[in-house]
């Protein structure tokens, strides 16, 4: 009887442990915005409208505020350098077509609900022909903080970038220059302008591109390796990223990593490695020459030979037993 009671209690405990709902933790604040990037070519005198979807992913109603923040710079990874206090005359080109939501005015959004921001861009006929860069930011709105609260009230902001080219041409002139196309340190020997590398060791390469023009350009192109006889050996795409005017970006392969070439035993001798970027109206190329030679293989063979000879020598010296 005692055994049955024990088993019943055990089963009950296990049942409750397994079936009872676990605690669900949700972010106190969460939000999404899409699309994350708006890339537009627009002629003066034209208008466009883009709808942004904002979602409140938290379990609480929130008050948000939307704003347009201009920027002129980005870092080497394409992260805009924002200055929330910056102003620009072209900020007046932007407006929200929503009936109840305006820039810099708080608006409510229910828990789990979504809201649409209808962004309108109207470029006047007299607008200067140039690029304008901005980020549409949506922030949590804090009206006041409890006076007994000691610490930090956090504001969360999420943004979407706007890269606008105001031009009367479909493809305004772009000037890209590839710089710093080098093998990673430690993998090559450099003598003068020549690089020497082992023929079976993978090589990584870094490169940056400068946009010296006044308009955004995209880094469409290839990383190409050709043998001394001009035969293509390896081909890899360049990750197409936007390089804003007067800025620098790191070039990466389509996987978002550094360019890498793994030579085979047949890749002996001089090879040409090139990065080629082709925009709608210009090309840019950067080339380096590398001489591959079987360094590791030769050393391995040499060591093997020495070992074999040593073994044979030691073996041959073993004294014979006297009979």
């Amino acid at each position: 009887m005692t055994k049955k009671i024990f088993i019943t209690i055990l089963l009950c405990v296990l049942t409750f442990a397994i079936l009872l709902p676990k605690n669900i933790s949700a972010a106190n604040y969460g939000m999404s915005i899409s699309p994350p990037l708006l890339r537009v070519h627009i002629k003066p005198g034209r208008s466009i409208t883009q709808v942004y979807k904002i979602e409140n992913l938290s379990n609480n109603d929130k008050t948000l505020v939307a704003a347009i923040v201009p920027f002129t710079e980005s870092d080497i990874s394409g992260n805009p350098v924002l200055n929330p206090k910056a102003t620009a005359p072209w900020l007046s080109y932007f407006s929200l077509a929503n009936s109840e939501i305006k820039f810099n005015k708080p608006f409510p959004i229910s828990a789990g609900a979504s809201e649409q921001l209808i962004l309108s861009l109207s470029v006047p006929e007299t607008a200067p022909l140039k690029d304008i860069y901005a980020t549409l930011i949506v922030s949590t709105y804090v009206n006041s903080v409890d006076q007994t609260f000691q610490g930090s009230a956090l504001r969360a902001t999420i943004g979407s970038n706007l890269l606008i080219t105001v031009s009367s041409q479909a493809y305004p002139d772009t000037i890209l220059r590839i710089e710093g196309f080098y093998p990673a340190k430690g993998t090559v020997i450099k003598i003068g302008e020549l690089y020497f590398a082992d023929s079976i060791t993978p090589l990584k390469f870094t490169a940056t591109v400068n946009n010296e023009g006044s308009f955004t350009a995209e880094t469409k192109g290839v990383f190409r390796v050709t043998s001394g006889k001009g035969k293509p050996v390896y081909l890899e795409g360049i990750l197409p990223v936007n390089v804003i005017a007067k800025s620098q970006r790191q070039l990466l392969n389509t996987n978002g990593n550094s360019f890498e070439f793994s030579p085979s035993l047949s890749n002996i001798g001089s090879h040409q490695l090139s990065l080629e970027i082709k925009t709608d109206n210009s090309n840019t190329t950067s080339t380096i020459n590398i001489i591959f030679f079987p360094l590791k293989l030769s050393l391995g063979l040499l060591i093997s030979l020495l070992l074999i000879i040593s073994i044979v020598r030691v073996t041959s010296k073993t004294p014979e037993k006297s009979t």
């Binding site: 972010a27 106190n28 604040y29 969460g30 939000m31 999404s32 899409s34 994350p36 990037l37 890339r39 979602e55 992913l57 990874s77 394409g78 992260n79 805009p80 350098v81 924002l82 980020t135 930011i137 922030s139 609260f149 000691q150 610490g151 930090s152 009230a153 956090l154 504001r155 969360a156 902001t157 999420i158 943004g159 970038n161 469409k220 192109g221 290839v222 081909l235 890899e236 795409g237 990750l239 990223v241 936007n242 804003i244 392969n253 389509t254 996987n255 978002g256 085979s264 035993l265 047949s266 002996i268 080629e276 030769s298 040499l302 030979l305 020495l306 074999i308 000879i309 020598r313 041959s316």
Partner: protein
């Protein structure tokens, strides 16, 4: 080049088969002596010597000639068009066959939704502070982005923790005296006699070369004076990247009584 390589290897084989190498001290004491068997093993018959030499030459030829055949990549060019790697991600990756090796991406690089920028707690309430005893609080930042170009989360404060009089502040930390920290350069803050307010980061997409461990802190940059500091970043797609922010405040015994507050903004922006 291959011929030179092959000749070199054969030469090396013959050299080590027929030449004696010795490392000798100044007093003529031999440290190491490597001699081919031709000299050292007179009992070995001539046939074995030939076999040995041929084996070495064969190995040299084997390592020189047994290899992949020459590879040719598609040039993707014609007199009328040139296909550069485009930007639509329909397919991509590394392909190879006996005649070519190619890594490509076919299609438009798609910028997905920038979503789930979340903060686990919007209120960092330290309550009562005890001089010389640091108070620590933490929350979690979560980011998911479909952007192929990555993202960055930056942080900035409106001002140091400040009393309602608008004048008295708890200064932003400069970390320990021997290990001073900056807004973009974390360092050790373990001395309880060093006062101020700062933060530590840990978790996914955090620069762990800067925030080496939980003793490393930075002061927040100040709005209208400094640029926001990057606290999380990634160069590609991020799926539920989560980082813990630990806030630390330590006051001196002479800190004026009162309630100190500030606002910290975390800005999550995709790259382009």
């Amino acid at each position: 080049m291959k011929v030179i390589y092959l000749i070199t290897l054969i030469f090396l084989s013959i050299f080590f088969t027929t030449t004696e190498i010795s490392l000798v001290y100044a007093d003529d004491t031999t440290l190491l002596k490597i001699s081919p068997m031709m000299f050292q093993n007179p009992q070995l018959d001539q046939k074995m010597k030939v076999i040995y030499l041929i084996t070495l030459i064969f190995l040299s030829i084997f390592f020189t000639k047994v290899e992949t055949s020459p590879v040719y990549a598609d040039d993707l060019k014609s007199p009328t068009f040139e296909i550069q790697m485009s930007t639509i991600n329909i397919t991509g990756g590394a392909k190879s066959s006996t005649t070519y090796k190619l890594t490509d991406t076919v299609g438009q690089t798609f910028q997905g939704q920038f979503n789930s920028a979340g903060i686990s707690d919007l209120d960092i309430n330290f309550g009562s502070l005890v001089p010389g005893i640091p108070s620590l609080l933490s929350n979690t930042l979560t980011v998911t982005t479909g952007s192929a170009f990555g993202y960055a989360v930056k942080a900035i404060e409106d001002h140091p923790l400040r009393r309602s009089d608008g004048v008295t502040t708890i200064p932003d930390t400069s970390c320990d005296l021997a290990t001073p920290c900056l807004q973009a350069d974390a360092n050790v803050w373990g001395d309880n006699a060093r006062f101020g307010f700062g933060y530590n980061m840990s978790g996914t997409d955090v620069n762990i070369a800067d925030f080496v461990n939980s003793t490393y802190y930075r002061p927040f940059p100040v709005e209208n004076i400094d640029q926001p500091a990057i606290v999380m970043s990634k160069g590609g797609i991020a799926t539920s990247s989560a980082a813990t922010v630990t806030y630390k405040v330590n006051i001196s015994g002479s800190q004026a009584a009162g309630t100190y507050q500030n606002a910290i903004q975390f800005i999550a922006i995709p790259a382009f």
